[in-house]
Amino acid sequence: MSQDQLTPMASEPILEIRDLKTHFMLDTGTVRAVDGIDLTISRGKTLGVIGESGCGKSVTAHSILRLIPSPPGQIVNGQILLYRQGEVIDITRLQPKEATIRQIRGADIGMIFQEPMTSFGPLHTIGNQIGETILTHQQAESAQSAREQVIELLRQVGIPNPEQRVDAYPHEFSGGMRQRAMIAMAISCSPMLLIADEPTTSLDVTIEAQILDLLVGLQEQTGMAIMLISHNLAVVSEMADDIAVMYLGKRVELGSADAIFDNPLHPYTQGLWRSIPRVDGPLDKLIPIPGAVPSPRDRPTGCVFASRCNRFIEGTCDEPRPVPTFEVEPDHFVACYLYD
């Protein structure tokens, strides 16, 4: 197939999030963790989602898999459309425990979490836990063939001596090895989409490099899409095709990785760029963003970034209404009045 024939397929959406709102109803008030975001993940591509604590990036991921604890959490608005084999499923309309969502979790969408120690149960071997996923989704006929598949998966993610390691318990694995096992489990049913929520945050850089390379290799082999959630801008810049920047439950900017890095538009994105130390390039003085991320309980009523913004326009940015999104250049969106 030539490159031209591949292109239209490449932008085919696999998951579309439309105006998603996930709120938590607490005794002390409603926390609007995700407050009206739109995202599209295309087949075979990597969408990077960056943002600091409380921006709603993990809640978005958990909403996709319907893993939001309810109560207090609830998807109060929007659609999450999964495109699979000619049908479109709105995940927000599924019951959290019904068969369809259980099938989607694991089989259509795999997920790897930040802390692999708590993602595996301590009482069963790694092999049994991954094997269970395979059996649950009827990807193997017997426990024996599931076990063989697990060994193959462990080999694929680069775990040495998989024939022996398949019988090891999670505590016998190092952090990097557990994260590999977690990836093996997530890809065990060949998902179309892998959600990776801070997949390397607790790992050392040399191990992080191994894991990121592994993800890139798997994507090349299987053509799965990846939603990579991270606070580490450099990790996202190396991995993502498109990047969404989130702040306090809002998607403030979206564009191709090149556009986001070479021409950041939102004052928050620009501020992030000026405030991160770099390992290469000129050693400029860092210019921090003043203040701290406000608690989700006292969100500014207008633009969520207004309280820390250096381009704040009085009478506009503090107006209690949602900030519209502008397409400043093709496929580069920003929610900021400066571009009105």
């Binding site: 390379d213 130390p277 701290a292």
Partner: protein, 340 residues
């Protein structure tokens, strides 16, 4: 620069071993060699960046220098008013005097402050412990310090829980500086902070250093952070310093294969000219050795791409290869390693 050539602290062959005990009688069956013969010098007014991955012993080294542990062997010489004090030989009284000049800033601003004490009491605690000043004098000191770290006077009466991570770290810094130390060990001081807040703390630490003539041992796993703050950089691997050089020299011309691998693993922000965002990384094999069971020869030989027979037998000493550069590698002169 003449002043900065004056050493404030010299560490010679410092060792910190922890016994591994087994059985009913808690028999000592071996030692975890967390710090295994480290020598370094920190000059007045300079920052020595100490970089390494988890478990390499960098935090233990910082604590052993302050004698928060009782080191197994070696020397720590503190230069104080034309005198050279051997910290590890001091009695309680002598230690008090030295402690007043050596302080620590901790990693986790949520764990390092006493929640039951007001900010004021947290900040002046070192003064109280060392019996410095009267209550009104201490309060005046605290007020000044709070202003210096960018907090307000009225914050003094509040309790730590009402502050964000960045503000807590400011309080932690104010506390460390309350007794006017000359030397500060900062152990991952920005690790737990959001990226936009990191820069505030890094700049604050640099400003305070310039104002007060402080010397820092700045411990971090993040090479970009180390680059921003350090004058010289020491790289630690499994209890040993493997390389030690001026900042730009270490970044551009690493002479130890481990440093080269670290540089190669560090994720970088997208650069247009590099073309390919996923660079060819040097992927290290496996994980670091167990510090309780070290390999023969060089500590890095089990993961080194360049290791030869000599490396498996003889341990390379840390030696000077130029006036600004020391390295512990047999092959330093033969290898042509790539930097950042």
């Amino acid at each position: 620069m003449s002043e900065s050539e004056q050493p404030i602290l010299e560490v010679r062959d410092l060792r910190q071993f922890f016994p591994i005990q087994e059985g009913l009688l808690r028999r000592v069956v071996g030692y975890v060699k967390a710090v295994n013969g480290v020598s370094l010098t920190i000059n007045q007014g300079e920052t020595l960046g100490l970089v390494g991955e988890s478990g390499c012993g960098k935090s233990t080294l910082g604590r052993a220098i302050l004698r928060l542990y009782e080191p197994t062997g070696g020397e720590v010489i503190f230069h104080h008013q034309d005198r050279q004090l051997s910290v590890l030989d001091l009695d309680r009284h002598g230690m008090r005097q030295v402690r007043a000049n050596m302080q620590m800033i901790f990693q986790d601003p949520f764990a390092s402050l006493n929640e039951r004490m007001t900010v004021l009491d947290n900040v002046i605690e070192p003064l109280v412990c060392n019996g410095i000043g009267s209550r009104p004098e201490r309060e005046a000191t605290a007020e000044n310090l709070l202003a210096q770290v960018g907090l307000r006077k009225e914050h003094l009466r509040r309790y730590p829980h009402s502050f964000s991570g960045g503000q807590r770290q400011r309080i932690g810094i104010a506390r460390a500086l309350s007794i006017e130390p000359k030397f500060v060990v900062a152990d991952e001081p920005v690790f737990a902070l959001d990226v936009s807040v990191q820069a505030q703390i890094l700049n604050l630490m640099k400003e305070l250093q310039a104002q007060l003539g402080l010397s820092y041992l700045f411990i971090s796993h993040d090479m970009a952070v180390i680059r921003y703050v350090a004058d010289r950089i020491a790289v630690m691997y499994v209890g040993k310093l493997v390389e030690y050089a001026e900042r730009d020299e270490l970044l551009r011309h690493p002479a130890h294969p481990y440093t080269e691998a670290l540089h190669s693993a560090v994720p970088r922000l997208s650069q247009k000219d590099s073309g390919n965002r996923r660079r060819n990384r040097i992927l290290l094999k496996a994980s670091p050795p167990d510090p309780g069971n070290l390999p023969p020869g060089c500590v890095f030989q089990t993961r080194c791409h360049y290791a030869e027979e000599q490396c498996r037998q003889e341990e390379p000493p840390l030696r000077e290869i130029s006036t600004i550069h020391s390295v512990a590698c047999h092959l330093a002169e033969e290898l042509n390693l790539s930097g950042i």
